[in-house]
């Protein structure tokens, strides 16, 4: 059923962080949310993760209403918040076990999934290590492991490559693009990294001042241009297409 967002708005005082956002994401799609700092990417993900309530508009995640069925949405959603906050004093497996129990995963399933995600995220050797002793990339992998532990229908990742060195970023990027993470589910992630969009996304939604300014399905040009240049190109194309579409609608 995917994600269906209709005229979603989020205001902080007089500032619109998300302004009339409307889009659909189908299962199997991996969508990158791109835009400059302050464009509304994090706020949009926080709305979809039910961390923040919207000011107006509506949205459904796998058919569950974001506002009236928020707990059902949380059950089928995996969310990696910005910076991947985790309890530094806990061990890796201990933290993931805690998160699985919080999600009411039965013991045998939790043990199986724990084994799988630790292997997949290359954390098996670190299962007893305290999280505070891990590198930034390993901490991000713990956050990703937490997000996919319960096999969610929808995965929301807020800038999963932020502040990682190129080697760690490539690793996380490959994990997000892999079938284990993305197959059959909706993956929506925000990023500033063109290579990550190219490697992991099937589509890009561009945000500017909280508004969806372009919805790009052809990501091939990213091979030659950086993300700011592509943002300008996508926005320009969308602006050019808008009057043409309006004329088309007006024509008898």
């Amino acid at each position: 059923m995917g994600i269906d967002v209709q005229h979603l708005c989020k205001r902080f005082g007089r500032t619109a962080a998300v302004d009339d956002a409307t889009f659909r994401v189908e299962p199997g799609e991996r969508v990158a949310l791109v835009g400059r700092n302050g464009a509304g990417k994090t706020t949009l993900l926080r709305l979809l993760a039910t961390f923040l309530p919207a000011t107006s508009g509506r949205a459904t995640v796998s058919g569950f209403d974001l506002f009236s069925q928020s707990n059902a949405v949380r059950e089928i959603t995996g969310y990696l918040p910005e910076g991947s906050p985790v309890h530094p004093d806990m061990g890796v497996a201990e933290y993931l076990r805690f998160r699985g129990r919080l999600r009411r995963m039965p013991g045998p399933r939790l043990r199986r999934r724990l084994h799988d995600v630790l292997d997949f995220c290359e954390l098996a050797a670190l299962r007893t290590a305290p999280i505070r002793s891990l590198s930034a990339g390993q901490k991000r992998a713990v956050g990703l492991a937490d997000a996919i532990l319960h096999e969610p229908d929808v995965l929301l990742l807020d800038d999963p490559l932020a502040a990682l060195d190129p080697v760690q970023a490539r690793k996380i990027s490959a994990m997000v693009a892999s079938p284990e993470v993305s197959e059959g589910r909706v993956v929506l992630f925000s990023t500033h990294d063109a290579a990550f969009v190219r490697a992991a996304a099937t589509r890009a939604i561009c945000l500017e001042h909280g508004r969806v300014v372009a919805d790009a399905r052809d990501l091939a040009p990213l091979a030659e241009r950086d993300l700011p240049a592509m943002l300008d190109a996508w926005r320009g194309a969308a602006e050019a297409a808008a009057p043409a579409a309006a004329e088309g609608r007006a024509a008898p």
């Binding site: 989020k10 902080f12 961390f51 707990n71």
Partner: protein, 242 residues
């Protein structure tokens, strides 16, 4: 019943027990309780029948310190480290979060009081001759202190949910609970926690008289503070978006 509060309790309590600060607080509260007990015994010299009341009164006086310390960071620390976002986007209700955090803080307060209670066997061992002493009366007194501590811990959870800063929550909890403990006008003269004992009828408890009225009052207060904490958490979730 949902297992989630127990999952949260286990995580919070085990993390707290790994912290050096927790053990420092256990030691400080036990030391304070011992010092107050010794001072009160000197004041109540010759009134050995008052021993259970003296002992439990001092515990009741140090319990707010433990309640304030173990509750003040419950939400502020998670907010500061960003883990509150992960917690609030997990499929758990606000009531489950509040109950789990209350259980963890309350178990630490009780553990702190258990360490502080060691001053009684130490005194009984060293006193010559040992005073006549009714263990059952002390047990009733301890039950009353445990009930009062539940109410104070619940108030601390409420303050922690409402305050943005950890220190503000701690000061509010300590001030409110000490004020409740030290309200003037109690009949148990000579005890620093005498007025509190009177309001709880702690002295009656520690004479072995079980009066259910203060117990009902304290349990009602505990439930009320936890209910308010749930509502505050809910409203903060909404307020954080405006």
């Amino acid at each position: 019943m949902s297992r989630v509060p127990l999952v949260l309790w286990r995580k919070e309590a085990s993390l707290a027990l790994r912290s050096r600060a927790t053990w420092v607080v256990f030691a400080a509260v036990a030391g304070l309780a011992g010092a107050l007990f010794a001072a009160a015994l000197r004041e109540a010299a010759g009134r050995v029948a008052a021993l259970p009341t003296v002992f439990c009164g001092q515990l009741a006086l140090v319990a707010p310190f433990a309640a304030a310390f173990f509750t003040m960071g419950l939400f502020a620390r998670e907010r500061a480290s960003g883990t509150l976002e992960a917690l609030l986007t997990a499929p758990v209700t606000d009531a489950e979060i509040v109950l789990g955090k209350f259980l963890s803080a309350y178990s630490l307060v009780l553990l702190s009081l258990a360490f502080s209670s060691l001053s009684l066997p130490v005194y009984l061992h060293r006193a010559a001759p040992p005073p006549p002493f009714a263990p059952g009366h002390v047990a009733w007194g301890l039950a009353a202190v445990a009930l009062a501590s539940a109410a104070w811990t619940a108030f601390g959870v409420l303050a922690a949910a409402a305050a943005r800063r950890e220190s503000a929550a701690g000061v509010a909890t300590l001030a409110a609970c000490l004020a409740a403990a030290l309200l003037p006008g109690g009949p148990a003269a000579g005890l620093p926690a005498g007025s509190f004992a009177a309001s709880l009828d702690l002295s009656a408890f520690s004479r072995g008289v079980a009066d259910t009225r203060p117990a009902v009052l304290l349990l009602t207060c505990t439930a009320f503070f936890l209910f308010c904490a749930t509502r505050v958490l809910e409203s903060r979730r909404w307020a954080s978006s405006r």
